[in-house]
C-alpha cells in the first residue's frame, strides 16, 4: 500500500518524496532514467534568490532556509557554499534596473547591497572593467547539482520511500479511487495521490488529465575549465542575461550562457555557437580566464512555460493530482521548497507558502 506516487526523480520530485516520507507518508518515486540525472543534476548549480520575480520570493526564501541545513536534510553538504551572488551591470541603465529591483524586493530578506564601480573594484577586483556596478546578494551561493539532486532521492529512500529508477511510465489511469501507474519494466503502482514532477516531460501527464499546457524544452549551454587558482569569491551573473560563472573549491570555473539544442527528446548538447560565444566573450567579464582552457561542455533538458513561471499546485481537473514542473531553468534553488509545498498539500490540504501565482489554471481560457 502506498499513499503517494511521485513521477520524476529530479530535485522537485525527490524533495517531495523526502518531505512526504518525513511526514510518515508511504511514497513511491518513479524515475525514467536515474534520479537527478537530467536538468536537476546538470544545471549551473546556482542557489540564487536574487533576480527572481517577486511572487517567487516567499518560496525562494523558504528554500533558502532549507538549504541552510542541507546536510541535515540529505546527509551531504553537496559542495553548497553560501558565498554570495553578484549581479553585474554593464551599463548605467542596467545598474538602474538593479537598483529598482533592490527597492522592490526590500522586505523580502534578500539584503541586497548595491555596489558602484569603485566599490565593485575594491571588493571584487577580478571582475572586468566592463562592469559599471553590481548588486550583491550576500547569502545566495552555489552547490554541486550532480551531488545534491540525487542525494534528495537517496535521503527519501533512507526514510522508507521506494525509489524506482529506469522505470519509464507507459500508462497512467485513475479508476475513480486511485491512480494506476504502469511502467515499461512491468512495475505497477497504485495510490490515491499522484505528483507530476516530470520536468520537461510533465506536459503529457497534464494533457492526459485534460489540462494541456504550452510547455517547451530549452537547453542551457554550459562549460567548465580545468582547475585554476581560486579567485572568484561569489557566483556571478549579468543583468539582462549573458554569461554567468562560478568557481568551485577545486578551482574549476563553470560558465553558462546561450542555448544549446536537443539531440533527442532526452538528451541535449550545448552547440558550438554558444560554446564559442562563451569562450570569446567571457574574458571581458572575467579577465583572469585569459589563457585558461575549457575541458568539457554539456547541456540538459529544461521545461519552459511561455511566462517562464513554473506550474505548482493541484490539478484543475483531477482530484489527487498535483503538479510541480516547468521551472524555466531556475528550479534548483526552489526545488526543496516546492517539494515541501506539495507534501503540505497532500498532508494538510494547503501549502504554507503562497503558490496561487503558479496554478495550472492560468493556461485555461
Amino acid at each position: 500500500m502506498i499513499d503517494v506516487i511521485v513521477l520524476g526523480g529530479g530535485i522537485v520530485g525527490a524533495s517531495a518524496a523526502l518531505m512526504l516520507a518525513q511526514k510518515g507518508q508511504r511514497v513511491a518515486l518513479v524515475e525514467r532514467d536515474f534520479c537527478g540525472s537530467h536538468s536537476s543534476g546538470v544545471n549551473y548549480g546556482g542557489v540564487r534568490r536574487q533576480g527572481r520575480p517577486l511572487h517567487q520570493l516567499p518560496l525562494s526564501q523558504r528554500a533558502h532556509q532549507l538549504w541552510a541545513d542541507l546536510p541535515g536534510l540529505i546527509g551531504i553538504d553537496g559542495e553548497y557554499v553560501c558565498c554570495g551572488h553578484l549581479k553585474l551591470a554593464r551599463s548605467p541603465a542596467d545598474f538602474a534596473t538593479l537598483q529598482a529591483y533592490a527597492t522592490q524586493t526590500d522586505g523580502f530578506g534578500l539584503d541586497l547591497q548595491l555596489l558602484d564601480q569603485r566599490q565593485l573594484r575594491v571588493r571584487f577586483p577580478w571582475v572586468g572593467d566592463v562592469a559599471v556596478g553590481a548588486s550583491l546578494c550576500p547569502e545566495d551561493g552555489h552547490a554541486n547539482p550532480r551531488l545534491v539532486s540525487p542525494a534528495f532521492a537517496r535521503a527519501a529512500q533512507r526514510l522508507g520511500a521506494s525509489v524506482h529508477e529506469q522505470a519509464e511510465v507507459t500508462r497512467i489511469e485513475h479508476d475513480s479511487r486511485q491512480f494506476q501507474v504502469h511502467c515499461a519494466n512491468g512495475l505497477h503502482l497504485q495510490a490515491p495521490w499522484l505528483l507530476n514532477c516530470a520536468g520537461a516531460w510533465a506536459g503529457s501527464v497534464a494533457a492526459q488529465f485534460g489540462e494541456p499546457v504550452p510547455i517547451t524544452s530549452a537547453h542551457p549551454a554550459m562549460l567548465v575549465t580545468e582547475p585554476l587558482p581560486v579567485v572568484m569569491t561569489v557566483s556571478t551573473g549579468v543583468e539582462g542575461g549573458g554569461i554567468y560563472a562560478r568557481q568551485v573549491a577545486r578551482g574549476n570555473c563553470i560558465l553558462g550562457g546561450g542555448r544549446g539544442f536537443a539531440v533527442d527528446p532526452c538528451r541535449a548538447r550545448p552547440g558550438q555557437v554558444a560554446v564559442l560565444e562563451i569562450l570569446r566573450n567571457a574574458g571581458e567579464l572575467y579577465p583572469f580566464l585569459k589563457g585558461a582552457q575549457a575541458i568539457r561542455t554539456w547541456s540538459g533538458t529544461e521545461g519552459y512555460l511561455p511566462d517562464h513561471e513554473p506550474v505548482i499546485g493541484p490539478s484543475s481537473t483531477q482530484p489527487g493530482l498535483l503538479h510541480g514542473f516547468g521551472f524555466a531553468g531556475a528550479g534548483f534553488q526552489l526545488g526543496p521548497a516546492v517539494g515541501e509545498a506539495l507534501a503540505e498539500i497532500v498532508c494538510t490540504g494547503a501549502s504554507r507558502q503562497p503558490i496561487e501565482a503558479f496554478s495550472i489554471r492560468r493556461f485555461q481560457a
Partner: protein, 447 residues
C-alpha cells in the same frame, strides 16, 4: 559543393585520400599533427636526418611508401595539418587551428582517428618518468629522445616488445621487460598467429633479440608498483624489484572514438577489443548516413589493416556517391581484413587482458589523475548503489578532467564492473562530450 572530409592522416586516412583522388574526388584531409603519418609512421621533424631504417626498422618500406603517397597528395588535396576537430554537429566539423576556430561542412566523412595506449594504472604511475608505451615510442621516433637512462617496459601487447627493442637498438639501457601475459598464453595463440607468419616472425624476432642481448624478459610478470619520490626510482612485481629511472607501460591500445560518438554513430560492445566501438559494416559504413569509419579508431587491427580499411571505406563512399568502383578489389580487401581480424584474435589470446587487475587495484591507487580520483573513491560510489559509468562519473568526477576519460575511462569501468558484480559490458560507456580536446578562452572565431 561541400567536400568529402577525412579526419586523421595516418595509414587509413592517407590511403582513403589516395583512393578518392584516384577516382576524381579531391578530399579535405584534416590532421591534428604537424606532419602526416599517424602514430606508427610518425615522421621526425623536417630538420632531423635519421634514416627510415633507423626510425621504422622492418616497417621502413611501408613507412616510406605511406610518406611518399602523402607527399604526392599534399599539393593535390586540401590538406590541413595541425588542426584539431573538437566537435561535430549538424553535418559540420568544428575545427581549431592555432587558436582560430572555424568549421567545415562535409558531404561525406571518413573518420580515421586512430588509437592511444590502453592504460591500467598501478601505484606510482603518476611519478615523473612514467610514460605510456606509445608516448615512449613517440619521444624516440619523433624527437630522438629516450624517456630515461635506465628504462623498464611493462604491460602487455605487441608494442611492448617492439618499443623495448627500438629503445635498445637506439642505444638506450633497457633494464627489463615485464609482460603480464604468461608464456603459455602465447603458445595457445600460435595457431591463430600463424595466419600472419611474417608479423609473427617479427614479434618473435624482437623477443629473441632482447634475450640475445641480455635484456631480461619476464613473462607472466604483472607490474605491481612503481616506486619513487620526486620521480621514478624502481619497479616491483611479484616478490621482485628493480631500479630504473623511467617506465613505459600500457596494455595494448584503445580506439579514439569521441568523434564517432559526437557524430551520433551507434556503438556496440566488442569483446575482442573489450571496448564499446562505433558499429560499421564490412565496408566501413557507420550507422550514420554519409559517415564512414576506418583504421584503429573503430577497433584495433594495426597499420596494414588500417590502410585496407581506409581504401575500403573510400570505395564504399565512392559507390554510395554514384561512382563505379572495382568490386573485385573491394572484395579482396575485405577478405584480407577478415584474415587480419582472426590474427587479431590470436593476439588477444597471446596478450590477454589482465582480468584480475580491477580486484587487485588498491583503494589508494590514483585512477583518474586529472581529477585525482582514487580507485577507493570509485568503489565508494559503487557501494552507494551506482553502477552506470556516467552516474559514477557524476558522483566522483572520474573521467571528468582534462583527458575526458580517454586515459582513465576504461580502467574506471573495470573497477565499477568488478565492484558492482556486473560484466564489463553491463556498466555502460562514458558519453562523449565536446570538446574532444581542450579549447582556449579568447579563441578567434572565423566565419
Amino acid at each position: 559543393m561541400k567536400p568529402v572530409v577525412i579526419v586523421g592522416a595516418g595509414p587509413a586516412g592517407i590511403r582513403a585520400a589516395r583512393t578518392l583522388l584516384d577516382h576524381g574526388i579531391r578530399p579535405c584531409l584534416i590532421d591534428e599533427n604537424l606532419r602526416a603519418g599517424g602514430q606508427i609512421y610518425r615522421r621526425q621533424p623536417e630538420n632531423f636526418r635519421r634514416s627510415a631504417r633507423q626510425l621504422y626498422g622492418f616497417e621502413a618500406g611501408k613507412a616510406q611508401a605511406v610518406h611518399h603517397t602523402m607527399d604526392e597528395l599534399a599539393g593535390l588535396i586540401d590538406y590541413r595539418p595541425h588542426t584539431l576537430v573538437w566537435n561535430a554537429e549538424d553535418g559540420r566539423l568544428d575545427l581549431l587551428d592555432n587558436g582560430r576556430a572555424q568549421s567545415i561542412e562535409y558531404s561525406r566523412l571518413i573518420v580515421a582517428t586512430g588509437a592511444t595506449d590502453r592504460i591500467l594504472p598501478v601505484p606510482g604511475w603518476t611519478f615523473p618518468g612514467v610514460y605510456s608505451l606509445g608516448a615512449a615510442q613517440i619521444a624516440l621516433k619523433y624527437q630522438g629522445c629516450a624517456i630515461g637512462g635506465r628504462v623498464a617496459f611493462c604491460g602487455s601487447g605487441p608494442l611492448l616488445y617492439l618499443v623495448a627493442y627500438q629503445y635498445a637498438q637506439a642505444g638506450a639501457k633497457v633494464v627489463a621487460v615485464l609482460d603480464s601475459a604468461p608464456f603459455s598464453a602465447q603458445c595457445r595463440a600460435l595457431p591463430a598467429l600463424l595466419r600472419q607468419p611474417l608479423t609473427l616472425a617479427k614479434g618473435m624476432y624482437y623477443r629473441a633479440w632482447l634475450s640475445a642481448h641480455g635484456i631480461p624478459v619476464h613473462q607472466g610478470a604483472t607490474l605491481r608498483q612503481i616506486d619513487g619520490d620526486q620521480r621514478v626510482r624502481g619497479i616491483r612485481w611479484g616478490e621482485q624489484s628493480l631500479e630504473c629511472d623511467a617506465v613505459a607501460f600500457a596494455h595494448a591500445l584503445r580506439s579514439e572514438t569521441q568523434l564517432a560518438d559526437l557524430l551520433g554513430c551507434e556503438f556496440a560492445w566488442d569483446s575482442l577489443n573489450r571496448a564499446w566501438l562505433p558499429q560499421r559494416d564490412s565496408a566501413g559504413r557507420s550507422s550514420v548516413e554519409a559517415v564512414y569509419l576506418a583504421g584503429d579508431g573503430a577497433g584495433i587491427m594495426g597499420a596494414d589493416a588500417a590502410q585496407m580499411a581506409g581504401e575500403c571505406a573510400a570505395l564504399a563512399l565512392l559507390e554510395d556517391a554514384g561512382s563505379t568502383v572495382d568490386q573485385r578489389r573491394r572484395e579482396a580487401l575485405q577478405k584480407q581484413l577478415a584474415s587480419i581480424r582472426r590474427f587479431r584474435q590470436g593476439l588477444e589470446t597471446a596478450f590477454p587482458f589482465p582480468e584480475h587487475w580491477a580486484a587487485q587495484a588498491p583503494d589508494e591507487l590514483m585512477l583518474c589523475r586529472c581529477e585525482e580520483v582514487s580507485a577507493g573513491a570509485v568503489r565508494a560510489v559503487v557501494d552507494e548503489g551506482h553502477w552506470e559509468i556516467n552516474r559514477v562519473k557524476a558522483h566522483c568526477r572520474v573521467g571528468m578532467g582534462r583527458c575526458q576519460g580517454r586515459m582513465c575511462g576504461l580502467a574506471a569501468a573495470e573497477i565499477v564492473a568488478e565492484r558492482s558484480g556486473r560484466r564489463i559490458d553491463q556498466v555502460g560507456r562514458l558519453r562523449g562530450q565536446a570538446p574532444i580536446k581542450p579549447l582556449p578562452f579568447g579563441v578567434e572565431v572565423q566565419p
